[in-house]
């Protein structure tokens, strides 16, 4: 289980539900969090700093609380 991966799946679901430009949203979150969206999977380690940055980026781009 990876918390980062869970958050990634939630974000992808939100993008799909809202009909957003997936490449644009993922790109913005990746740039803000410093974590390439495409590299996140079930085995990605959850270091606290990366998790916090990812949450902050999702909040800023999608106004989404993870």
């Amino acid at each position: 289980m990876s918390q980062l991966n869970d958050m990634k799946l939630l974000i992808e679901a939100k993008i799909k539900a809202d009909g957003l430009d997936a490449k644009d949203v993922k790109g913005k979150i990746s740039l803000k969090s410093g974590k390439l969206f495409a590299f996140i999977n079930e085995t990605t380690p959850d270091d606290p700093e990366s998790v916090a940055k990812f949450k902050r980026a999702a909040k800023e781009v999608l106004n989404m609380s993870l």
Binding site: K28, L36, F37, F39
Partner: protein, 388 residues
């Protein structure tokens, strides 16, 4: 628009330019106005001085001619030689009443030297028999010729012409003196120029008691105490306070002196003065000149406001033009690069950056497109991405 954006910085820079430009414009207009108002004041003083000289010469010429007529009049001559006060008054009073309409204020007959006395003042018949000790009379006695010029009596200042009555056997049978109060000149000068004038007389040449008496006789307020060193003998404006001068009349330069610009109610005025010498060459007074420059001032203010409005409008247009130009040349293209870069990171490896020009931003577009291709190439070799 963020405060640290290039747009904001450009707008701030142009706003500063606008403020500096408007301030410079206002200062320039003020400087120009100061210079021009001073030039107008100088012109007014110089013009008044010339006009005064012309009027003085004209009146002297007129009184000289009148003197000639008087001398040629046999009945006047007989009465003067006979020292017949009443007869002389009877003959000359009707003439004087007509001459008053021509501006003549004084008509005096003097007996000959050595016991020279006033035989008749046609303008004040009751005062006669006194002996005068004036420079012009002394000159007339000395030269037995026509003497003319301005002369200050103890209670007033007048342009005078004194002519001797030559006798057939030689010598002089008496003198006739015409005079015109200088106070009258300023009203003529106002009619001709529109300026206001004031005649200032130095107190040291006046007698306090006589000034008071003459003020009463002429229904004039006794203004002796209004100023320390001079009195205002006459002025063309009823407004008090326009004729202000703190210096010494004797130190006013020959060509006149411009004083200052000042505001009186809604009017903007400039003032100056020039000295008036008497026949003996002493500076006994000065002519004060007040020139209304309200029209010029309003015109300057209008021009200033128009220029400021034009400057503001011009700079607003320049700001819009510069921002539009920057938007087309820089901002939009940078936005496009940011958009493409964001999408590349988000997984869009197909969208390319189009190099739209060979300018500085175009070079950056080219570099970024090259970087994008390298980045995509690197990602294509990442195993996790290939599996997908």
């Amino acid at each position: 628009m963020h405060w640290n954006s290039i747009r904001a910085k450009v707008v701030i820079a142009l706003a500063i330019c606008l403020i500096i430009g408007v301030a410079g414009l206002v200062l320039l207009m003020r400087y120009s106005f100061e210079n021009n108002s001073r030039a107008l004041a100088t012109d007014s003083v110089t013009g008044a001085q010339k006009l005064f000289s012309i009027l003085e010469a004209r009146e002297i010429s007129k009184m000289d001619a009148l003197g000639g007529v008087m001398i040629a009049h046999p009945q006047v001559r007989e009465a003067l030689v006979a020292k017949d006060h009443d007869r002389l008054l009877q003959i000359t009073a009707p003439v004087f009443s007509r001459l008053k309409g021509q501006g003549i204020t004084n008509l005096v007959f003097h007996t000959p030297e050595p016991d020279m006395r006033v035989l008749l003042r046609v303008h004040i018949p009751s005062r006669f028999g006194d002996s005068l000790n004036r420079f012009m009379l002394k000159e007339a006695i000395r030269t037995h010729a026509v003497v003319s010029g301005c002369e200050l009596a103890r209670a007033g200042f007048a342009v005078r012409v004194i002519q001797p009555f030559p006798e057939a056997k030689g010598g002089v049978g008496g003198y006739v003196e015409f005079g015109e109060e200088l106070g009258q000149f300023i009203h003529t000068m106002k009619d001709q120029t529109g300026n206001d004038y004031g005649l200032l007389l130095s107190k040291k040449y006046l007698d306090r008691q006589l000034w008071s008496e003459s003020s009463t006789a002429w229904n004039r307020r006794d203004n002796w105490d209004d100023n320390a060193t001079f009195v205002v003998a006459d002025q063309t404006t009823p407004a008090d306070g326009l004729m202000q001068f703190n210096g010494d009349l004797a130190s006013v330069p020959e060509q006149g002196e411009v004083l200052e610009r000042f505001q009186h109610g809604q009017q903007v005025l400039v003032r100056g003065l020039f000295p008036i010498r008497d026949a003996s060459g002493n500076i006994v007074g000065a002519m004060f000149v007040v020139h209304d420059i309200s029209g010029f001032y309003l015109s300057m203010r209008h021009t200033q406001n128009v220029l400021i409005a034009l400057a503001v409008a011009g700079l607003i247009l320049i700001t819009i033009f510069v921002l539009t130009l920057l938007s087309r040349l820089v901002f939009r293209r940078l936005d496009h690069i940011i958009h493409v870069a964001t999408r590349v990171v988000g997984g869009d490896y197909a969208t390319e950056i189009q190099v739209s020009s060979e300018d500085e931003v175009g070079q950056f577009e080219r570099l970024f497109e090259q970087f994008r291709r390298v980045f995509v190439d690197v990602l294509s070799h990442v195993p996790e991405l290939q599996e997908k």
